[in-house]
């Protein structure tokens, strides 16, 4: 399962809900969701504790927010082509809205 999160953990509980409910697989952070993947953010500790997920973040959305050089270790940055590949690789995707 590819879990897509598009809101900051400071704005919504969608990352928490995903981490509590999803059984594993991958998490793709897009839009304001990318803030969770930045060093020193509240999302960093949460994502580090959730080792069963492989975590990706959308590069263009990191760049749009000036966060491209603050990505935490263990997160793979992808472009929109990588986003498409992730959707294709996983049997289903869930947008946590």
């Amino acid at each position: 399962m590819l879990n897509i999160i598009n809101k900051s953990p400071l704005d919504r509980g969608s990352l928490d809900t995903c981490l509590q409910s999803a059984e594993g697989g991958a998490i793709l952070l897009i839009e304001d969701g990318v803030y969770a993947a930045t060093k020193g953010s509240v999302g960093e500790a949460k994502l580090k504790a959730a080792g069963k997920f492989k975590v990706y973040a959308l590069g263009p959305d990191l760049e749009a927010r000036g966060m491209a050089d603050r990505v935490m270790d263990g997160v793979t940055v992808v472009d929109y082509g990588g986003f498409v590949d992730l959707v294709a690789e996983h049997k289903a995707s869930q947008s946590w809205l």
Partner: protein
């Protein structure tokens, strides 16, 4: 691979409409097929041809119409969501006694069955919203 896309947010709101557009373009660039793009809830506002964004801003509605024309995309607007928000084609104008239409080129108004079919027929369904 066949993709379907569901868009639940209007244009110029947060980022869902822009993300969905960039995603759709990349799906096509990668050689995949888009079975259908379905606009639901406030997403139906992507389909009004009456928007006039500033000249130096992206025109989200026209951008969808152009993409649909270039790639023969099936872009479907939910009829009940459209009626609530005043998105009208000629058939709906006649049926509901409206004096104008505003559905942008490349879109068509239909029912939720089209969303279910999109989920069944496509290999992958991705939702964008807020």
């Amino acid at each position: 691979m066949k993709f379907s896309i569901l868009i639940n947010e209007g244009p110029y709101t947060h980022q869902a409409s822009d993300s969905a557009y960039q995603f759709a373009k990349s799906v096509l660039a990668k050689g995949h097929e888009i079975f259908r793009i379905f606009f639901y809830h406030d997403g139906v506002n992507n389909a009004t041809r009456l928007t006039t964004p500033p000249q130096d801003d992206r025109n989200i509605v026209n951008r969808w119409s152009k993409l649909a024309e270039e790639h023969k995309l099936d872009m479907v607007v939910c009829v009940a969501a459209a009626q609530r928000r005043g998105i009208v084609d000629e058939g709906e104008a006649k049926r509901n006694g409206k004096d104008a239409t505003n559905l942008a080129p490349g879109f068509r108004i239909s029912g939720l069955g089209q969303l279910i079919e999109a989920g069944i027929q496509a290999d992958r369904m991705v939702t964008f919203g807020d």
